[in-house]
Symmetry: C2
Subunit: 404 residues, 2 copies
């Protein structure tokens, strides 16, 4: 298949592009390097030393003989996106090209507005481009499990049969997202459902859980192909941060009681889920929703798992509770369904098996790049404006200057 | 109360500003005249000869002694909006300042993107301005009954108690909007709910039905205060169009079977509902939803009512069915609750009483301004791009040139 990966220089996008390329698909990456720009803006960097995309693609072709096409530009620029569709004529488009960090969207008004405009306009453009240039193209769009929030009922995959006053209907599952970023994905989901209905577009909305892990079979082929590992307070995810905290001997910072429960998956399952969606496309006019995660954990459970894993490696770490910077339930019911991708053939990797290899070992391997000033949250949901003050001091950085 | 009416030069906004001013409130209008600009873009005009806002306000003050403040600018410009909040310090903000026509949002990609960005960013700005400058200010935001679509269950006022797998929760009512415009209002509703939760903002989301009628006690005081009456294929509403068609002896154009059922209300009830919401504000942190309409009708019922009203006035008109340009159910279940505003003290005006006075008579009074080329729909939902070709011909305009 000809598959276009929007946002193919990012964390999930890069792993996906390589996986699909190795599986024999013809792959094109579209990216504008905004993700790298945000690191500069925030004064943070991935733990792993990622290479420029051109270098990554050169090494990939050298190692595998497979070329990945590259279109450099912004999906919110419709003239550019139209050119991509006319040139590449994709059978499937995987849309990762969004601002994906909740804290980034909560910095202030400008970041909230940027996140919603960037994500909503990008997705509208993709929908219009499919309608105009490639009506049979299957859109695979990354949503988030965070669209659902934490309702006091079981979370279904996108739709819910509702019985009410003696009547019944299947309706979109009600959404209670917890940040301006999560809201942008809810907006996208509604726009997609409508576009499928009026134009007969095929779409799969993947409500993905929190992805962990750095190494896939493909990114592991060469150091130059290494993937991102974000642990900072804005783009970092909780499990990465715990592992880096453990590796640097810092307490694991649990927000509030730590009863916040979410869905998680290994990045090796992300890339497989994407391919399963490609190989089993939605029908014309169908807006299909999969909950893309394999296990659910509370934050405190994760902290205890990391603590135990560190102990096995001879590292003693503490678990420290601190006030949550978010507005969220610290204890709640959570039971989210996630059987549709299993039905299509997904064989999950489980966290207990990959915690040491793919997380703790990577954190330890690059521990001289750890910047401990990135650990603590600086973006408070209850503030309208947050000024991130990144302390620059010798003590705040452990050996970052010494790495060649 | 000090009440700021965003979009106060528009149809609902103008009637509301005058009503609140006459009831003794201190009123400020914020507008950027985009609504007037869209008439130029589309080559259409209101049936009624509205005056420039400065003239309207001058006459209002002359007649009543009440001055209405005016801030000219765009709510998507946060610097401007901040100035309004700092200067006027409103107790309540009524937010009408959005692009409100479904067909306009369906013209093409640019109009879809414009509608969503304009509406979403405007509302985000208002939420941030309340948070930053006037945290106790009550936001009264115009949503639409079209957010709900036409589910096969009763439509509740904003929230639904769901029983599922033996558990229960009260969740936002699932939304199935039918245009990029209606989607923008769904996006707004989600953003508002979140802002109330994290910042303790007071908000009332008014899911308004289709408003009809031109005359209120205030706009009727002087010809210079006359309100808009839109009947064109883009901004016109179905009931206005039927009345103008009847007044000009043209068949009433019913889309499809005409079983499309919607909620309707008289503009005199709109202004009263707004005041009721102001006088009974939402609690801090509450995002309250009222369904703001008084009666529900199918399109075919409306056509038959207009036909009967015209007959009483000696005018014979036919009802003509034509393919719907939209993607919508032409027959469906529809039962939407609307008791909360009644509970607050609304005494509805009913269509059967106002059809002749406020609609047919206005249509006949200004029949020499009727442009029959504005009757037929030119925006097809199934097209990605619609080119509106407005025929300019002597036969298309009935006497428009002869009016002094």
């Amino acid at each position: 298949m000809k598959i276009c990966v929007l946002g193919g220089d990012g964390y999930c996008g890069w792993a996906t592009a390589l996986y699909l390329s190795r599986r024999g698909h013809t792959v094109a990456i579209v990216d504008n390097y905004l993700r790298r720009q945000w690191d500069f803006e925030l004064g943070v960097q991935t733990l792993t030393p990622i290479q420029p995309l051109a270098e990554r693609l050169r090494v990939w072709q050298e190692l595998t003989g497979s070329a990945i096409d590259l279109f450099t530009g912004d999906v919110t620029d419709y003239e550019f996106l139209s050119g991509v569709f006319e040139t590449f004529q994709p059978d499937a488009v995987i849309h990762f090209a969004e601002q994906r960090a909740a804290p980034y969207s909560m910095i202030d008004r400008k970041h909230a507005v940027f996140t919603q405009v960037n994500n909503v306009v990008g997705t509208l453009n993709v929908l219009f481009a499919i309608r105009e240039y490639q009506p049979d193209c299957h859109l695979i769009k990354l949503g988030t499990m965070g669209e659902y929030g934490t309702p006091n009922i079981d979370i279904e995959e996108g739709y819910l049969r509702v019985e009410h006053n003696g009547r019944s209907d299947v309706l979109p599952f009600p959404k209670q997202p917890g940040s301006f970023y999560h809201l942008s994905k809810v907006h996208d989901s509604h726009n997609m459902m409508f576009a499928c209905k009026i134009w007969g577009i095929r779409a799969t909305d993947l409500n993905q859980g929190v992805v962990y892990g750095t190494v896939t079979d493909e990114t592991g082929l060469d150091e130059a192909l290494i993937n991102r590992f974000d642990y900072d307070d804005v783009f970092g995810t909780v499990l990465n941060r715990f592992c880096v905290q453990a590796a640097s001997g810092h307490p694991l910072t649990v927000y509030g009681k730590g009863g916040q429960t979410r869905g998680f998956l290994d990045i090796r399952d992300t890339v497989r889920c994407i391919e399963l969606a490609c190989l089993n496309p939605a029908a014309p006019g169908e807006c299909r929703v999969f909950n893309q995660f394999t296990e659910q954990f509370s934050v405190l459970e994760l902290a205890n798992m990391v603590k135990a894993a560190a102990a096995k490696m001879g590292v003693t770490v503490e678990v420290a509770h601190m006030p949550t910077p978010r507005v969220e339930a610290e204890e709640h019911y959570y039971n989210a369904k996630h059987s549709k991708l299993i039905d299509l053939g997904l064989h999950p990797h489980y966290l207990s098996d990959s915690l040491l290899d793919s997380l703790m070992n990577v954190a330890l391997r690059y521990q001289d790049r750890i910047d401990i000033s990135q650990f603590l949250p600086q973006i408070q949901w209850r503030n309208a404006t947050n000024r991130r003050a990144r302390p620059i001091s010798a003590s705040a950085t452990v050996g970052a200057h010494t790495r060649p």
